[in-house]
Symmetry: C2
Subunit: 374 residues, 2 copies
């Protein structure tokens, strides 16, 4: 291991539930050793999807068995449709069928869907198993694998059912990102840029200059992932259960979720990160309309997202969409509603996002009608 | 309220998740005031079953609306079969359909099944709503409503899927116990006696003398419920997530769960408390066989349970049962298995239960073959 590539460690500080995020090249091959040194003699269930498994599962299984760890794969169909009660039940039953005990480990090996689904199953099987995240998409590495939110979707909306359940370790292998399609990579990039837009204007400026290195797999990639994880870890440490500041991480997500609902989670039309990209641009434009942010800042965000190839407007989504009024209904049903007043993450400019708790629904509707005339 | 009957309060001390158990007559009629004074202006979903709802729901709804609290009833079929993924999904969706927000309240209004199911749904809907237990069976009042264990059954066994989720308040109305069948009341009594057998031999001796008052609704009833809740609260405060002492509460439950599985949770043949009754007697007899406890103590437990009308042997269960070998399989699949060695709650005598982590499966099997020859 002397010439093994360097690993960046980001600690997540949550008292007796603290854990490390390890970021670097070749981490799949080192997973067995990393898990054995932390968890000792355990058995493992690897929850993954068919796409990720075809590319990387053999390598992970070999790494685990090399460290004396037996593993059982539990595979689900790739895509957002697996984030529902039916698949949750199947995965949970598969963990029980493998006769794993409370001290054994569930690994989420995949993108955001797998992390949310496997984390939820790990949180409820035997009322909580050990849980390790091995995110394989950029989005999962910088966002969903960190912070302990797990969940599934229902007819009532996205992520409305789940538990807060922290992993004991996150292993982010930066090599696997080379197997993503450009579209998937870009979608994850929207969440990277989000951290700059929330409260790190210098990071956003750095991204404007260095984004090509991130996309091309240069050293900027690991740096961008580490800054993103650190940003998220800081927020989660302050407010694990989202009673306050953590809501800032939802910048762009209220609009984004509504658009995902409107496209029925059809990934051919819109994936989560693309919804967030459009949502972030809309949040900046709406902030401008509310006289909170300058037109220049909103334009800068839109220009950067467009430059990297992300969709930036509702019109960029292929196919028919429901009316502005219907989109408004989806927003009202979103979980960030409190007592009839809408809570939105708005901004005073690049890196100056804030939680607005009293946004008039009529203002949102009129903004949507303007952006999405029918 | 000047001549309202006295209420006994038992505090459960769990740091920032501490809560009170209120025990007394007429608490349903006082629920609205009790909830409004603690939770303020909230909306409520009442999860209940058709049997309990027919008897008591109107009174609860009136009490809530008298305090200005709107409520939505969510009714499920009575019985253990409702403790599964399908009903969990239905209840969770009904909470979302009622558009309850995170700060709103889910009330579990029923016996142990309702408490486990509604608590699980409250723990996962919006990643955790406010939760209040209003147990209507003796078993739920003295056991399942206290301590935060929630869960459902799967084909792999009982309560293998769930979350630890503490209520914010428990309201135990002792009047409602008069509407239980004698059989249901007796089943709950097995859990009351269990506390004496774990570590309060004086309480067990008091029960041997005073059980008739408990069954007849005398002042002994409230006292027995309060002692039971206090016993459970003490254990839970020491070990909320069952990494140690809390397992003592499973006295009789390993055998009991196996018998419930063997009867396919058919309440016509065996209800939970009856399984626990037989299980407790078996645990004492097995402890005698292992030369840990005296024959006299085991006989005293069996005699008392028989005296109150509880089943005390496998042969007391009506209908055909699987073989001893099959019962052993169910035990091995139970969650209290660690690394191949069986963990059992055994005893050195009345009030001297302990956690035995190294019970040889062969000894259990031979004991079962003796008690249940085929």
């Amino acid at each position: 291991m002397n010439d093994a590539p360097a690993i960046t460690t980001v600690p997540v500080k949550l008292g007796d539930r603290s854990y490390d995020i390890l970021i670097g090249a070749g981490l799949i091959d080192r997973a067995g050793a990393a898990i054995a040194s932390r968890a000792g003699s355990v058995r493992v269930a690897i929850v993954s999807d068919e796409t990720v498994a075809a590319l990387h599962l053999d390598r992970l299984t070999r790494s685990l068995s090399g460290a004396g760890i037996d593993s059982t794969p539990i595979l689900v169909t790739a895509g957002e449709k697996s984030k529902g009660f039916a698949t949750l039940e199947a995965v949970t039953n598969a963990i029980l069928a493998a006769r794993l005990e409370r001290g054994d480990v569930v690994i989420a090996f995949g993108g955001g869907v797998i992390g949310d689904l496997a984390g939820f199953a790990a949180g409820i099987a035997r009322r909580g198993m050990r849980f390790i995240q091995m995110p394989t998409s950029l989005l999962a590495q910088v966002d969903s694998s960190v912070g302990g939110k797990t969940g599934i979707n229902t007819a009532h909306g996205k992520n409305l059912v789940g538990v807060f359940y922290q992993p004991q370790l996150v292993l982010a292998d930066t090599d696997v990102l080379d197997t993503l399609t450009p579209r998937e990579f870009r979608a994850g990039y929207a969440e990277v840029a989000k951290y700059g837009l929330i409260d790190r204007s210098d990071f956003f400026a750095w991204l404007e200059k260095n984004w090509r290195g991130i996309f091309d797999g240069g050293p900027e990639r690991t740096e961008a992932i580490a800054v993103s994880c650190q940003s998220k870890a800081d927020v989660v440490a302050r407010d694990e259960k989202e009673t306050g500041d953590r809501a800032l991480l939802n910048l762009g997500h209220t609009f984004g979720h509504a658009l995902e609902t409107a496209t029925n989670y059809d990934s051919a039309r819109l994936v989560h990160g693309e919804g967030v990209s459009i949502g972030i641009v809309l949040a900046h434009q709406f902030s401008t309309k509310m006289n909170l942010a300058s037109q220049d800042d909103a334009g800068r965000v839109e220009a950067h997202f467009r430059q990297v190839g992300l969709p930036v407007s509702i019109g960029d989504i292929p196919g028919e969409l429901p009316s502005a009024e219907k989109l408004m209904d989806y927003i009202a049903q979103d979980k960030k509603v409190a007592r009839g007043a809408l809570t939105f993450i708005l901004t005073r400019g690049i890196g100056q996002a804030f939680i607005a708790k009293d946004v008039p629904p009529s203002a949102v509707l009129s903004f949507l009608q303007e952006k999405h005339p029918t």
